[in-house]
């Protein structure tokens, strides 16, 4: 067990409380730097998606995890970022410019969504953000002069300083990694300064935050804007990675995927966004596996237990029909959300913290450490 001896107020402010962190994150960074040269191109591509999803996850976490304002509209913010990039690219605007414009524009839209959201709480806010997402989806499909409607838009490869950065190149991988890293560092910086603390204060008690001098409306709008801007930046990368965008990519299901990212990872730390992103990116390969390999395996098992050839074939086709059924993905998402909310509300990162504490305190760990306690009911009337 490690005992921290603090001798300076800075010890409470540092990002890395002790040297062990520098070693572990150094190793992780070293691995990520060499990864595009040693891993297969498929895995590298998956990693890029992990980075993009994790960036959105961190953005959503600022709003939902830290400020306590739920949003099911982040697919729309992603779409605004992506379409801004695709639109400006047609006019040969350089990458750094449209990257920034996309972020700023999405942030401004986020602030605009934030204003009506000031009067909404909980489930009503969720409904409002869903409707916002539907409005944006509809605009993308109908405003054909700008978005080409349902035909979608092609996104050319990224041009930077006269060189073409292909979407599968290591350079693009490093760009996404850099955006994610900067987002995480910025978020951590925010959390250890007055703005981040004001966000957390709003999440836990608006009344108390107000009486401590926090302008609740201003900070909610700020939170919306920051969250949307980060998602907008991710949208540019998303557009480049897919090289083609159309309205049906930015549906409610995508928003739900983002919620799953932070729910499964753990909505209280950027670690959670990364873990959740890995999880959600792995779902598609898992479904493919379910579709391609599992029916045959089950049939083979059935055959060894004495099922006839006809029965085995029937089992195989039934399992295959189940595995490739429409909406299986949505059903899996639903089951995952329910299971995590019930049994692992702190997400994967929470589980990791528990395991870590178990070994740190061995054999004195007690399960109640992480138990949510609700002892005293707060007054609801002052909301």
């Amino acid at each position: 067990m490690r005992f921290m001896f603090k001798t300076d107020y800075e010890d409470d402010i540092k990002l890395f409380p002790h040297g062990g962190y520098i070693v572990t994150y150094g190793v992780l960074l070293a691995f990520l730097v060499v990864a595009p040269f040693i891993l297969s191109s498929y895995l590298v591509s998956q990693l890029v998606f992990v980075f993009i999803y994790a960036t959105v996850g961190v953005g959503l976490m600022i709003l939902t995890g830290f400020t306590g304002q739920a949003s099911l509209g982040h697919a729309a913010f992603l779409a605004i970022g992506a379409y801004t990039a695709a639109y400006l690219q047609q006019y040969n605007v350089p990458f750094p410019v449209y990257f920034l414009v996309a972020g700023v524009l999405t942030g401004a839209v986020g602030a605009m969504v934030g204003f009506p959201a000031l009067r909404l709480q909980g489930i009503y806010l969720v409904i409002a953000t869903i409707s916002f997402a539907f409005i944006i989806e509809e605009i993308l499909a109908r405003w054909e002069s700008v978005t080409h409607g349902n035909e979608g838009m092609r996104v050319k490869a990224l041009q930077f300083l006269g060189t073409t950065v292909s979407r599968d190149s290591p350079s693009f991988y490093f760009l996404c990694l850099a955006v994610l890293t900067l987002t995480i560092v910025g978020t951590l910086n925010l959390l250890r300064s007055p703005t981040g603390r004001a966000f957390v204060a709003i999440r836990d008690s608006e009344t108390a935050a107000r009486s401590m001098g926090v302008n609740v409306s201003l900070y909610k709008v700020k939170s919306f804007a920051i969250s949307a801007a980060i998602t907008g930046f991710a949208g540019v990368l998303f557009a480049h990675k897919l090289s083609f965008i159309s309205p049906e990519m930015f549906t409610l299901q995508l928003s739900i995927e983002f919620i799953i990212v932070i729910l499964i990872g753990g909505a209280f730390s950027p670690h959670g966004a990364v873990l959740g992103a890995i999880f959600i990116v792995m779902i598609d390969p898992f479904l493919t596996y379910l579709k391609d390999d599992v029916p045959g395996m089950i049939a083979a098992v059935a055959a060894t237990f004495g099922a006839g050839a006809a029965t085995a074939a029937k089992i195989q086709s039934n399992v295959a029909a189940f595995a490739s059924a429409n909406g299986l993905k949505g059903a899996i998402y639903g089951v995952i959300i329910v299971l995590f909310v019930l049994f692992e509300p702190l997400g994967l990162y929470g589980r990791w913290l528990k395991i870590k504490l178990f070994f740190q305190l061995f054999p004195l760990y007690k399960r109640a450490t992480f138990k949510r306690q609700k002892i005293y009911v707060k007054s609801e009337r002052n909301r």
Partner: protein, 252 residues
């Protein structure tokens, strides 16, 4: 002119007059207690002063400035802090970050500086941290610095409420039943702290309290309320002897 005064303050919920034309003044550096039976309108007055409710009529002045129209967050910036009867702490944060939120009105850094965590932000953070540490020392909260609020006992939370209010470096502090739910020793501690706040930190105190022992020990003046109206005002002994107050508590 008084340091803080309320003039003809009223708060009506439909036909119910929770606060009815109440006027009172608080002098600088005094401890004024508001007492009264349940439902007398004590907490409503607090919520009016801290601008959580809008008064139906009447005006509130602080340091000769009309604060009736001030938004709730502006009150704290003027130097008025409050605690809550039903603890309103930030449950899922540590004691330190709760107290640091109390420093919010003193933060001067801009968003972009915070995103980059520039040296100026760091310097400010250290100043905040030092001020918070002084409050922690004043209220003996050292053992709980890095503890999550959700795991702390009620008595400690009550003290943290006070600590968070003190972190705003207020000129006037509103204490809403500071001793409710505390045992005898904790109430003793509380009364010393309230005294010290006045003598050492020079803070003016306006408090609502049911525990008459505490009221007698710390108050300079007492206001008794019933049905939203002022029954009596004066020294603790005077108010307790006042026939209307006796009638309100014991029945005529």
């Amino acid at each position: 002119m008084s340091y803080f005064r309320a003039e003809n303050l009223s708060l009506h919920f439909g036909g119910l007059k929770a606060v009815d034309a109440v006027s009172f003044a608080v002098e600088k550096g005094e401890i004024l207690s508001i007492i009264g039976p349940n439902g007398a309108g004590k907490s409503s007055i607090f919520n009016l002063v801290s601008r959580i409710y809008n008064p139906t009529s009447g005006r509130i002045f602080f340091e000769d400035q009309d604060i009736t129209e001030e938004p709730a967050f502006g009150i704290a910036k003027l130097g008025i802090a409050r605690t809550f009867q039903n603890i309103e702490l930030f449950e899922n944060a540590t004691l330190l970050s709760n107290l640091l939120v109390g420093r919010h009105r003193h933060s001067t850094t801009q968003l972009w500086q915070e995103l980059l965590f520039l040296p100026s932000v760091k310097a400010n953070e250290k100043i905040h941290r030092r001020r918070v540490e002084q409050v922690i020392e004043f209220l003996d909260l050292e053992p709980y610095r890095d503890k999550l609020i959700s795991g702390l006992p009620y008595g400690v939370r009550k003290v943290i409420e006070l600590a968070r209010a003190l972190c705003t470096e207020p000129k006037l502090i509103l204490l809403d039943e500071p001793s409710s739910g505390l045992n005898v020793e904790e109430t003793d501690d509380m009364s010393f702290w309230i005294r010290d706040m006045k003598t050492e930190l020079g803070i003016t105190v306006l408090m609502v309290e049911h525990d008459m022992t505490l009221v007698n020990r710390v108050s300079d003046r007492v206001i008794a309320l019933n049905y939203g109206k002022v029954l009596a005002m004066g020294s603790p002994a005077e108010v307790q002897r006042h026939p209307d107050v006796v009638a309100a508590y014991l029945g005529a």
